[in-house]
Assembly symmetry: C2
Homo-oligomer: 353 residues x 2
């Protein structure tokens, strides 16, 4: 089969980790007899440098004309002092909005081989961790109206509409049906009107999934529970802002943020896939970055957008095998393991395919 | 000296832990020759039950006429289904607003004796933890306008004014001057207008404190750093919503939330003092609750509002001694220690005074 993939290498370590991942994808193409047609496009800092715009219209058009989008990472200190709407982040938020990517799926998984890197005590982790954070991605205070009252004040509106909440809740329950059938809704309904509204919409959707157990946590409590009792979670559903905070916290308690992928899905099968970690400008162009999060993001892309399940499984198995063989990039290195760079880690995974 | 203290026992375990703390305060009065005049007032669930109003005007008046306020804990499932403005939380938010308590100080300290309860690995904790979270308490999305667009949408406005940010930033820098001279500002300036504004006001205040090192973290990153590298923090300053989440996370990584006090300060010396933990209705009226967080909140009250430093030191020393003697309530119990209830723990601390 032929597939069209838009590729956004992005900034910092982006081009290196995307480069390594494309090689893995090429190997999959060869092995499983597919054709992946890549179109490289600009967004974020690279786009600001090239054309003074963090999200050129051409990028949006090419993404929309593709089966899926693969993204490295955007941003860096170089562009941090630009005004809000000219920053790399504006490119990322613009991509999410213009591609309709309302459902951000962020698995927080503990890799057996990397248990030692987990910051939590072994008795808290037990047999491992497997949490799926389902974060709404195109609403909330991220996209509400914002403004200043001269030099005196500034504000952003935190807002959700019924259709926005219903569709993300539905997504979370659908995912829970394929997992442990437990959804934890996180909000701040004891204070925020938007949270009370959000919660009532989630409860409405829950009625269609009688097999799924639903519970509610306030966001402050959820931030605590992730640290002291993360094993209680199966699927977490929450808004854009709380999801930003909690998904990062959840990924960090696994101890291996350099390993974690994410999917940002539109209605249907279209999605954008990227590692959870950032652009790490401090180690850019040194062949040091861990490409695994991006490589498993490619696996997610094959699974969710292209329906290529065996291919996705093959990548994930190759990653596990490579870790079992003891290969480690610097971020996950521990004594007795073999230290490798970005390129070599990619090559080892390809060898194991 | 004579002091007027308004006392709000509150709900759940509130009356028990406040009761134990008042006995400690009575012992201080005797020992140091002070008179504490207590006036008990209603707020939260108890006030809803008694007069259908989570914050009677009389409560506000008596608090304003006092030197300080001691609060147990408010809320519980019994009142969870009331409309927003009739809930116990509305009483708490109303107290903060009407008493002008804009600065919430939440120390996250690891008690040497309770190190075993910390969920993080020993190598992350090192010699201990001592973070002061300075949370703005009367602004942000907590107190902005809010509303619904019929059944279609709901919204809350996240807003800060210049005077609000300047005064909390000033507070944080003043506190840092007495500690390790390091302030970490937490916001979401890459997305929110209110955060960009907040950050510029914090930077303005920083100019008056050239000895204090200031750095900035996005809230998602701060949530991660607390888990993997909490020792980097001295003073954290942040807004009401982010402070709610991060101060709870910070207290949880110490492993002893039943031990942590908080102060909510107005301009000058007036403040309200309460434990960080909640009303724990599941163990109410069983003489099981840990009174230590409330007792050390009393110490904070003596230190910050009444300028009774030796008295505050005496309480803190008595608590440490009691822990060193091996007395533990259920929440902090470990093998080999002596299990005691609320009353007995209070008595042991008094004996050690
Ligand atoms: C870079 C930033 C705008 C973004 C967000 O807040 O969504 C990032 O933190 C993320 O989670 O993808
Ligand atoms: C009960 C709730 C309104 C309150 C808050 O969010 O401020 C609590 O979580 C706290 O931190 O004191």
């Amino acid at each position: 089969m032929d597939y069209k993939i838009a590729v956004i290498p992005g900034d910092g370590i982006g081009p290196e980790i995307v480069g390594a991942s494309i090689k893995v994808l090429d190997k999959i193409a060869e092995k499983f007899n597919h054709t992946f047609n890549y179109t490289e496009v600009l967004a974020g800092g690279a786009a600001i440098d090239a054309c003074d715009n963090p999200l050129p219209q051409e990028t949006v058009d090419i993404c929309l004309d593709s089966d899926a989008v693969l993204l490295g990472a955007l941003g860096g200190p170089k562009w941090d002092n630009l005004p809000g709407d000219k920053r790399p982040e504006a490119g990322l938020l613009g991509l999410r909005k213009s591609l309709g990517l309302y459902a951000n799926l962020r698995p927080a998984i503990l890799y057996e081989e990397l248990k030692a890197a987990c910051p939590l005590k072994p008795e808290i982790i037990g047999e491992g961790l497997d949490i799926m954070v389902v974060r709404e991605l195109t609403g909330d205070v991220y996209f509400g109206e914002k403004g200043r009252d001269g030099d005196f004040a500034a504000w952003d509106i935190m807002k959700y509409t019924r259709p926005e909440v219903l569709r993300i809740a539905k997504k979370a329950f659908e995912i829970a049906m394929k997992r442990d059938k437990k959804v934890t809704n996180v909000d701040k309904a004891n204070v925020l009107e938007v949270s009370r509204f959000w919660r009532s919409c989630v409860e409405e959707v829950a009625k269609d999934y009688p097999e799924v157990e639903l519970n509610h946590l306030y966001v402050d409590n959820a931030a605590m529970q992730l640290v002291i009792n993360p094993k209680q979670f199966d699927v977490i559903v929450t808004g854009n802002l709380f999801g930003d905070i909690l998904s990062d916290e959840a990924s960090m308690i696994t101890g291996s943020i350099g390993m974690l992928p994410s999917a940002s899905m539109a209605d249907g099968k279209f999605g954008m896939f990227e590692p959870i970690h950032g652009s790490a400008p401090d180690i850019a162009n040194q062949d040091k970055a861990n490409p695994i999060a991006t490589i498993v993001s490619v696996a997610m892309m094959l699974r969710y957008s292209l329906d290529l399940i065996a291919e996705a499984d093959a990548i994930e198995a190759a990653v596990k095998k490579t870790l079992a063989q003891g290969y480690r990039t610097g971020d996950i290195f521990s004594a007795g393991m073999a230290l490798v760079g970005t390129t070599q880690m990619g090559q080892k995974i390809i060898d194991n395919l």
